[in-house]
């Protein structure tokens, strides 16, 4: 019954089109109209700041290690007060597949996915974002987390000065 199938195949699509002519459209006229993506939408990344307003990223390389397409590169450096920071931090959004693995790997909550998706561009270099472009002035989804308040090596708080730490031991005492 091939003939019957062909006839059906010719007319059915027209019928579908005709039906939808009388329904409300699901598309919007982008870019005149824009949609607000949900807050947990996975689009371009941001580098957030800790509650004290300092850069959260410690350039630990975990996001770049987690990235399946190798689009993150960075160089760590030491600030005068011993804080580890990125000397530079670069994401190539032309390569990024927005999988969110970097944000998942980040131990300091620094790198987060933001809902900003409008990255279309004709110049590939404009898709290469540096630290300055990525940094935002807020804490993103977890504004209260402060890495150095939990890992005690005396950067944000003096040595032994975090809530879960005892003051430095006196190694010269012989008392039990």
């Amino acid at each position: 019954m091939n003939l019957w199938r062909d006839i059906k195949g010719t007319f059915q699509p027209f019928w579908v089109t005709l039906r939808y002519l009388f329904k409300r459209p699901v598309t919007i006229s982008y870019p005149e109209q824009k949609r607000t993506p949900p807050p947990r939408y996975r689009a371009r990344m941001i580098l957030t700041r800790d509650p004290e307003g300092e850069e959260r990223c410690v350039a630990c390389h975990l996001c770049s290690a987690a990235c399946p397409v190798d689009c993150i590169s960075m160089q760590a450096a030491e600030r005068e007060d011993g804080r580890r920071q990125a000397a530079w931090f670069r994401i190539n959004f032309a390569r990024c597949i927005y999988c969110g693995l970097c944000a998942e790997a980040c131990p300091t909550m620094a790198i987060q996915m933001s809902p900003e998706y409008e990255l279309g561009n004709r110049d590939p270099l404009k898709l290469v974002w540096e630290k300055e472009d990525l940094l935002v002035d807020h804490g993103g989804k977890d504004p209260n987390y402060h890495f150095y308040r939990h890992s005690g090596i005396g950067v944000a708080a003096p040595r032994g000065g975090n809530d879960d730490e005892l003051p430095p031991v006196n190694i010269k005492t012989n008392l039990p």
Binding site: W88, S151, I153, E165, P176
Partner: protein, 793 residues
């Protein structure tokens, strides 16, 4: 040989092996911290627990503390053992700062690995964490005590293995502290090994701090180029920059350790002024044009002045293959055989060293196992630092060490010191050879030699020279008997001095070349990674000779003095960027492989900030080529390292093993020469009255490559002059006085240091590159000099 069963597999191990090692032999991964193959076991970390089911011991035991015995049945996977180890990890993590993201050990941290492996992920304990204050341990090592797990590896490395005394464990109870009595740089020249040995991030590499992650580094098995011992190393690079060097493992040479010169001398590779493009009279030209110009110029000179007008100069810095191709090039051009080494005395001394039969040649492993070590004119810490560590291991097993030297030779272990004049060393060695009785003051030595079972004679090529080396080797052969082997070792100036000397055979040396250059016969000179301007003691003649050249070609990766004068400069790769072979002072061929490709480090192109925002199809500064490849092109040979090695092996039967050499492993000894050893000449010694100036190598500052390394800057010594206290008294000089030294035409003002542990009548100055002491050359007979106190202004 006990046989035991571990995890249902049976294994037979040598007597004295512990159960942990036995399990490792089966390929079972046993979690452990405090056990280390070079340090042994102490049972401090409690992590290697296994369940002993049957046999002489039963129950949960630390496998590193139990000697393997027949009939043992052991399980590493028993649920009790797994739970026990998990608990140990949980305890160790109670006080840990949980700061892996900012810890340089992250990614290569044994604690991280073990924690993940044990499944521990949440800190259940709610009490507070113990914290410590850190110390400043100097320019090489960063201290972060909060990460410590009290495994004692650092103490055992530093104090037991390396012989350092200024770092240890302090405190008691819950307050154990691993550090120094007070802040200050670690004194041991082997302190860098703490970085490799500490299983956590307490002791990390300071110059490398926050530079890269382990997983981002490009690493490859390589050989240290900073002395003639040829320790196995693993250089690590990222972003076209050599960022660190860690120790490889060559059981016959360095074991698992290297010295700080080898560890922190790498930065010459990243030097800002390093030649990176072919330059013709200072103008950049493409490689093809450079090679064409080179061949044309040489041909033209040969047409006008004959093939004798071309001279080729190899060196102990260049690989064996590149040095060999220099020979092929000379054959092709019809010129005289290449000269190897710009210091004729050192070259001759090295040539003697190559005549030693391999069965008499001592490796560092042999030194570690010997029971009497005689050092004649060898200063291990300066001329081959890891030798000092090998000697220490022998002493720990009860060996005696006797030092006969004019210099105050220091070792990281106890040793008997007999101050000798340089000429006395020769007398001593020829007396040993002749079987004569030794002078009274050397009697203890004669007795010790009588009793020793495995003596090793060690000489330094610089002080002994060719004549002394001949005597040393002959003496070793004489003392070597079936029932009592006696081995010898000679320290040479450069990593491949042996290889270069082997190729030199009976060829011309640099003195002949100088004479030819001075007479104007030589019109073109090609220097292969050689810098006569820093190494040739006869500077005046050299400058005259260089004046007369029409064409100076330099292949090098250092911004050397001769490179600055070159008509044609061809940039070559550094050791870590290329492949090839070196032969160490023992006659062991050691292969190295490229860790990364040359290029201008991103730190330079990016000027500290992000990499340039531009696309290009080329890498900046990527033009340096491997020297052997350049020479192969010049000789019109296929650019194929394996083929070159096969050619070399057929041409030089002593190198027959070269094509089969592997980069991993312990290298391969070359074959003995078929000639008998030369006999030392009887020697008449002149009595000398004047003060004699002796120029010596030092640990830091003398070796050429590491002299270009920034991480070593803080430890390089300032120029000084060393005098015997008696001489100083006579001249009215006190310690730290400024004195004027006049030797030949050179006059210098230097601060004086005094010692009573050296030969009298000798003035010692260190060879310090890139200081005013650069104009003094080691490896020369001592010369008369005058020292007088500079009166206060």
């Amino acid at each position: 040989m006990p046989t035991l069963i571990i995890d249902n597999q049976s294994v037979t191990v040598p007597e004295g092996t512990n159960v942990l090692e036995a399990a490792q032999q089966l390929g079972i991964v046993v979690p452990h911290f405090c056990y280390h193959e070079a340090l042994g076991a102490v049972g401090a970390c409690r992590l290697c627990a296994m369940l002993f089911i049957d046999g002489p011991v039963k129950g949960m035991q630390m496998s590193c503390m139990v000697e393997a015995k027949d009939g043992m049945v052991v399980s590493t996977e028993a649920p009790e053992a797994v739970a026990y180890r998990g608990q140990v990890i949980e305890w160790l993590m109670l006080n840990h700062p949980h700061d892996c993201p900012v810890c340089d050990e992250g990614g290569e941290c044994q604690l991280q690995d073990m924690t993940v492996a044990s499944g521990h992920s949440v800190r259940r304990y709610t009490g507070k964490k113990r914290t410590y204050l850190n110390q400043d341990l100097g320019p090489f090592i960063h201290h972060e005590m909060n990460r410590c797990i009290q495994c004692y590896r650092c103490v055992r490395t530093y104090q037991d293995y390396c012989g350092g005394t200024d770092y240890g464990v302090l405190g008691s109870n819950q307050r154990l502290y691993f550090g120094r009595f007070q802040d200050g740089p670690l004194e041991s020249p082997f302190a860098g090994n703490l970085i490799d040995l500490c299983p956590t991030g307490v002791l990390t590499n300071k110059p490398y701090r926050f530079t890269s992650r382990f997983w981002d580094l490009q690493e490859a098995p390589s050989v240290c180029p900073h002395c003639s011992l040829g320790c196995a190393t693993i250089p690590g690079a990222r972003f076209r920059e050599l960022q660190r060097v860690r120790s490889g493992n060559n059981p016959e040479v360095n074991g698992c350790f290297i010295c700080d010169r080898g560890r922190f001398g790498y930065d010459y590779v990243n030097h800002l002024d390093r030649p990176r493009t072919p330059l013709l009279h200072g103008e950049e030209i493409p490689w093809s044009e450079a090679l064409e110009t080179l061949l044309q110029r040489l041909k033209k000179l040969i047409e006008c002045h004959g093939s004798d007008s071309i001279a080729l100069l190899g060196s102990g810095r260049a690989s064996l293959e590149a040095n060999y191709l220099l020979q092929r090039l000379s054959e092709q051009l019809g010129s005289a055989a290449p000269v190897y080494g710009s210091h004729a005395g050192r070259d001759r001394a090295a040539r003697v060293a190559t005549t030693l039969p391999t069965e008499l040649s001592a490796s560092l492993a042999d030194v570690r196992n010997s029971d009497l070590i005689l050092l004649t004119g060898a200063d291990p810490l300066a001329e081959g630092p890891m030798l000092a560590l090998a000697i220490r291991q022998a002493v720990r097993k009860g060996a005696r060490v006797m030092i006969c030297d004019p210099r105050p030779v220091e070792l990281p272990c106890s040793a008997e010191y007999l101050a000798c004049q340089p000429q006395e060393l020769l007398q001593l060695l020829s007396a040993l050879f002749q079987g004569e009785t030794l002078p009274i003051k050397l009697q203890p030595l004669a007795e010790a030699l009588q009793q020793a079972q495995r003596p090793v004679l060690i000489g330094g090529g610089d002080l002994l020279g060719a004549e002394g080396n001949t005597a040393l080797l002959a003496a070793a052969q004489k003392l070597n008997r079936e029932e009592r082997p006696c081995l010898a070792m000679v320290l040479l100036p450069e990593a491949n001095s042996f290889g270069a000397a082997l190729l030199a055979a009976d060829g011309p040396d640099f003195e002949q070349l100088l004479a030819d250059m001075a007479s104007g016969r030589i019109k073109a000179l090609l220097c292969l990674e050689a810098d006569p301007l820093t190494d040739c003691p006869d500077r005046q003649h050299l400058l005259q000779g260089l004046e007369q050249l029409n064409f100076l070609v330099v292949l090098d990766h250092l911004p050397s003095l001769i490179a600055a004068k070159a008509d044609l400069l061809l940039p070559t790769t550094a050791l870590a960027e290329g492949a090839g072979t070196l032969i160490n002072n023992e006659g062991r061929m050691l292969a190295f492989t490229p860790a990364f490709s040359p290029g201008e480090p991103l730190r330079i192109t990016g000027q500290g900030n992000h990499p340039p925002r531009s696309f290009s199809t080329t890498t900046p500064g990527a033009l340096p080529c491997q020297a052997w490849a350049v020479l192969a092109e010049l000789c019109d040979l296929p650019v194929d390292l394996a083929k070159i090695q096969r050619d070399l092996a057929t041409q030089e039967p002593r190198l027959a093993g070269l094509p089969d050499l592997l980069a991993e492993g312990s290298g391969q000894l070359i074959q003995s020469a078929d000639k008998p050893l030369a006999q030392p000449q009887a020697r008449r010694t002149d009595q000398v009255d004047a003060l004699q100036l002796l120029v010596c190598e030092t640990l830091y500052g003398s070796e050429l490559l590491s002299a270009h390394s920034a991480p070593l800057d803080p430890v390089r010594p300032q120029p000084y002059l060393l005098l015997h206290e008696l001489d100083a008294d006579r001249l009215g000089i006190a310690a730290d006085d400024l004195v004027r030294l006049s030797a030949g035409e050179i006059q210098l003002t230097l601060p004086a240091q005094l010692s009573d542990r050296m030969a009298a009548g000798i003035v010692i100055v260190p060879r310090l590159r890139r200081t005013e002491l650069e104009s003094f050359y080691p490896g020369q007979p001592s010369q008369p000099c005058r020292v007088e106190k500079v009166s206060a202004p």
